[in-house]
């Protein structure tokens, strides 16, 4: 886990990708974005596997990326969903790969 993962949403204020991911995750969790931390896990946020499939879809639509998330066995995915920071990092990699 990076140091960045230990900060809250407020601290990600200048990180547009993180803010958008947090907004999407919060909407899925029916929480206020301020309650979602970069360290929050899907479990902590009450997002089950179906909820995660929806969140991943919303993230794909927001950033125009294709996320290799396997709901059959998330642990075997090439895309980490351990916590919000991992999702943000994964999305940034996909954006970079698309623009490369």
């Amino acid at each position: 886990m990076t140091d960045a993962a230990a900060v809250s949403a407020a601290d990600a204020a200048d990180d547009e990708v993180a803010l958008e991911v947090i907004r999407i995750v919060a909407e899925q969790a029916v929480l206020d974005p301020s309650e979602v931390k970069l360290t929050s896990t899907p479990d902590e946020l009450g997002i089950d596997s179906l909820g995660m499939v929806e969140a991943v879809f919303a993230i794909e639509e927001a950033f125009d990326v294709s996320i290799p998330f396997n709901a059959n066995d998330p642990a075997q995915s090439e895309f980490e969903i351990e916590n919000v920071a991992a999702i943000v990092a994964g999305v940034k990699r996909l954006i970079a790969a698309r623009e490369a």
Partner: protein, 408 residues
């Protein structure tokens, strides 16, 4: 909750199949015994825009070779499958119905996603190509009840006729309803099964969204299984009372002993071991079967992490110490998951196992998963006498249907 006293015993006297493994029942069964995997690269329009490009497609089935132009105008691909399988089953059973009996002959066909080719083609016409009209018979083509109606017309069956749609349990529910009709005497005879043709761009796009699709092959119960592969086809069977079949000297393929249903009342996609176990117990009780009489289980076995783990737990809960003596297999590893037709393609596998004493395998199996620690007949068929078997179907939405059969 066993069968009502005085109820008639119900046997199967005809079988017809269309699947990726073969275009008739003997070809389907021969491939199942040989462990042929029918899952491979799909051939369909805009495949390059799909992330899951594999499935079990009945590539040899060409509607234009089997039906004339006026029939094709009315038959979606799933109806074409249903009619083809019904004709085969009917010819084998050769039931010799009188006109009076035909008035009490039933048709019950399960389908989960009807008319997919018709939806796909028609939406393309109006949305993509901007056309202002679609084929005039779109509605009768995509009705979920179209296969049942066309089978009734093709064979002059004028009794209770309807469709059943319970997602991936549709065919088991349909065969179960037909079993009830014949057992109670409400129908003299029944034609029952399932038909599905979901290998279209739109339907595959929808499945892709759930992110449970394999990218290569389906590996039920195996470590490293990566999800399901969609299949297509139909299985249709002729059911009648044992008394009627014996009186006319018909070949009896098997007896349907019992049928059990349950609902998880839990989650719309996640399976429940308790719901599955209740359906299995209900089928055994309905058929007056003790758990130790069951030798073969044709599993729902979709090849997703959740289903196979949960189904294993359900079988252990019902069979206890006997579970290790069961021969289990998921034939979806070969004919794919044909959704509303799945239970029908699997019913054909069970009839083969009962009739020939051969357990069809679970192919593509790589390594044991401790959470699926049953004898799943990995990769090769096994010779074993099968006096009784069950066939499981546990659908999305928690709708479970289990058929229990005895050797004919």
């Amino acid at each position: 909750m066993s069968a009502p006293s005085g109820a008639r015993r119900v046997v199967v006297t005809g079988m017809g199949v269309v699947s990726a493994l073969g275009l008739d029942a003997p070809a389907h069964w021969a491939a199942l015994k040989a462990g042929v995997c029918g899952i491979g690269p799909l051939e369909l329009r805009d495949l390059d825009r799909l992330s899951a490009k594999v499935g079990a497609q009945a590539k040899g089935f060409v509607g234009e070779d089997r039906f004339d132009r006026s029939q094709l105008a009315l038959y979606d691909r799933h109806t074409q499958f249903a009619l083809t399988a019904a004709a085969e089953a009917w010819a084998q059973a050769d039931p010799g119905l009188s006109e009076e009996e035909a008035l009490r002959a039933a048709v019950v066909i399960g389908t989960a996603l009807p008319g997919m080719q018709t939806f796909d083609d028609s939406y393309r016409a109006v949305f993509e190509e901007g056309r202002s009209r679609v084929h005039p018979f779109v509605v009768p083509r995509l009705m979920v009840s179209a296969p049942a109606s066309h089978i009734s017309m093709a064979h002059g069956l004028k009794g209770p006729t309807f469709s059943v749609s319970t997602a991936c349990a549709s065919a088991n529910h349909a065969i179960g309803q037909a079993f009830h009709l014949v057992r109670s005497g409400a129908a003299e005879l029944a034609v029952a099964g399932g038909a599905e043709a979901p290998l279209t761009f739109g339907a595959m796009k929808a499945w892709e969204g759930l992110r449970v699709m394999t990218r290569d092959v389906c590996r039920p119960f195996s470590k490293g299984r990566a999800g399901m592969a969609i299949g297509e086809g139909a299985g249709v069977f002729v059911l009648e009372s044992r008394d009627r079949a014996e009186a006319r000297g018909a070949t009896i393929l098997a007896e349907i002993a019992g049928f059990g249903m349950s609902a998880d009342a839990g989650d719309i996609v996640q399976p429940s071991a308790d719901g599955a176990a209740r359906a299995i117990r209900a089928a055994l009780a309905d058929g007056g079967l003790a758990p130790e009489e069951i030798v073969y289980v044709n599993a729902h076995g979709t090849g997703t992490a959740a289903n196979d783990r949960t189904e294993t737990a359900a079988l252990r809960a019902v069979f206890g110490g006997q579970a290790d003596a069961l021969s289990v297999s998921s034939t979806k590893s070969m004919h794919g998951h044909a959704l509303g037709a799945a239970g029908a393609l699997e019913f054909a596998a069970v009839l083969g196992a009962l009739g020939e004493g051969v357990i069809p395998p679970t192919v593509n199996y790589e390594a044991p998963d401790p959470e699926c620690d049953l004898d799943v007949t990995p990769n090769a068929a096994r010779t074993r006498e099968v006096p009784a078997a069950i066939s499981n179907a546990f659908a999305f939405g928690g709708l479970n249907a289990v058929l229990a059969l005895r050797r004919g």
